[in-house]
Subunit: 365 residues, 2 copies
């Protein structure tokens, strides 16, 4: 077994331990078995993920008093009030109680949905996340953000509810489509650029092994990204300030996703496009051109798909979506920009006209 | 102006100040105006309550950048995922942001619903409760419990989300139907019996003025009940243990409400019936008969309406409802009983057969 990384995330209600490594679930078998001992356990996953990795959970499920597998749709479709409502009704019908346990196995959508369902069922039950996608391992599973989407806004309904544990096995990344790995990598380099430049080196140096889904190669990259995010979240548990640095690239990303109805573009890909816009706005405010070029080259090397043709002329529409984002304050759209490599800055002082101009250049590129 | 009572409730995320008195809202005008200054304000209420007391809020609403009044159905009907979903969509459509404010004006249902909507909108916005019913003033508005019902269980979906302030004007009680006052009084004596025997004296001594809706008479009773509940909640913010004492009478009450589909019986009335059952189980376990008789007499003096005929033969059905209650643990139904006047005890060791026997005696009475 390769090295196991354990990272602790203290939060207002306790500590969440995150374990990253090959066969990480097996390594955590004992504490997990104690956690479910004598209790009812609900596993939220998708049919596809259950087929791929469900068998690895058997010893864990068997340690509970009783368990039920509840499957939900793949991807963003799972993150609706309707799906959450169905799950709450099923938990109640299947005898769910305050001391029941919930586990999510899947990508960010399953984790966001499952965390929200756990957080609001009988005013909150404990849960564990087993993130199977890169995006979920390095980002979505960390920091207790949970929620579902409304038609008019992503993650508009949710709460902070930290999992008891997060266990991430990098072997799980091996079955991901290449586009999923690329998408998750945009989130990794987003964190590396503002928070951990050495992680950026690590990604640049082993990019081909990473894109090939090499589990060993991924361990230090996932662990590094987890540690970077944990560092930020620990210092700012409820996104008052520093945590907003994690939203580098997200102002445009959320607008793109909203305008597309969360279709046709993966979240990480939207972040890739969002970083390209944020880099342009950052250079105007003093980010050295070389640093911007370095990140742009890495984005290109990973491979950013084109935007749908329909968006090319939609700059005004996208700016309206930005104003509706929950990061928006009464005083305007908040931009997370790079002051320098390894240093973020947040500002609402970007003229709308400048945004429109840079966005149009980007959309035309 | 009569005496104003201010009680502070510290909780994991700050302090909630509760103000009780005649014209309490006017007394809190300045901090409330600062709280909404420059922000969007959403008022959740019912049409009836808005007609009765909405005008008193005018100066407060006018202090915000902008405000919207969102009306919801009366009573338990408001507490559904569907109503919550509609409100979230409206908040988003009306430009609600993370720093927007929400205020609830109404009874316990409006407060529970509004608190849940505030707690999950963009992962939580601040809110204030203005409870207009007795039940809401002495119980529902205190302690941060929020939520909605599922068809199969009351308050099955919700979270802890403390209001920033609670402001309770006892004049608001003057327009309540007599049955509402009686219902709320059952919650008051529930707290007095286990937590504050002098409050029980106070209620006994001024019962006729209270039932007549005398605002002055109510001030020390509401303030006493608020202080009793705040004391418990402060020592046990998330219902790990002592706070469960507040559920005296609630095991049967929730079962009655569930079996009746939350119709035909007010919550406090259900608690009145629940206390009668809990008293019988308590006497068997050592509560002096005199104390039980004293509380039973007060329940009679307030006036407990008969149970619907349909429930008379439903003891088994009611016991099944008890097992589904969220207070139930894997090890059985948790009973909150009285060990003595002013002293509660919690036990799961009540044989099902004994519950059925006592319940049948009660249903036949």
């Amino acid at each position: 077994m390769s090295q196991l990384h354990q990272i602790e995330l203290p939060h207002p209600r306790g500590v969440c331990r995150l374990t990253v490594g090959i066969e990480a679930l097996e390594a955590e078998r004992e504490p997990l078995a104690r956690w479910v001992d004598g209790r009812r356990l609900f596993l939220i996953t998708t049919e596809r993920v259950a087929d791929l990795w469900g068998a690895e959970l058997e010893p864990f499920l068997a340690a509970a008093l009783d368990h039920r597998v509840l499957t939900v749709p793949e991807g963003e479709e799972a993150k609706s009030l309707e799906v959450a409502g169905d799950l709450w009704r099923r938990l109640l019908a299947e005898g769910g109680k305050r001391d029941s346990r919930l586990v999510t196995l899947g990508g960010g959508s399953v984790g966001d949905l499952g965390g929200f369902v756990a957080g609001c069922f009988l005013r909150g039950i404990e849960y564990v996340q087993l993130p199977t996608t890169l995006l979920a391992q390095v980002d979505a599973s960390i920091g207790g953000k949970t929620g579902v989407d409304l038609p008019a806004g992503k993650n508009s309904v949710g709460l902070f509810h930290h999992p008891w544990r997060v266990v991430a096995d990098t072997r799980w990344l091996g079955t991901l489509p290449a586009a999923e790995l690329r998408s998750g990598l945009f989130e990794v380099i987003k964190m590396a650029f503002l928070l951990d430049p050495p992680l950026l080196d690590r990604v640049e140096q082993r990019l081909s092994r990473l894109l090939a889904g090499d589990a060993e190669a991924w361990v230090p990259v996932v662990a590094g990204a987890v540690a970077a995010k944990v560092g930020v979240v620990t210092r700012d548990p409820e996104e008052a300030d520093e945590r907003r640095l994690l939203n580098f690239g997200h102002t445009l990303a959320h607008a793109l996703e909203g305008a597309l109805g969360y279709r046709d573009l993966r979240h990480g890909e939207a972040v890739g496009w969002g970083m390209r816009l944020a880099l342009r706005l950052s250079v105007t405010r003093g980010l050295p051109e070389d640093d911007a070029v370095r990140l742009e080259r890495l984005i290109d090397a990973i491979g950013l798909p084109d935007l749908p043709e329909s968006l090319r002329t939609q700059s005004e529409d996208l700016i309206r979506w930005m104003g509706r984002d929950k990061k928006a304050r009464e005083d305007g759209i908040a931009w997370v920009l790079a002051a320098a490599l390894g240093k973020g800055q947040i500002t609402t002082a970007v003229p709308r006209e400048e945004v429109r101009r840079e966005l149009e250049v980007l959309l035309a590129s």
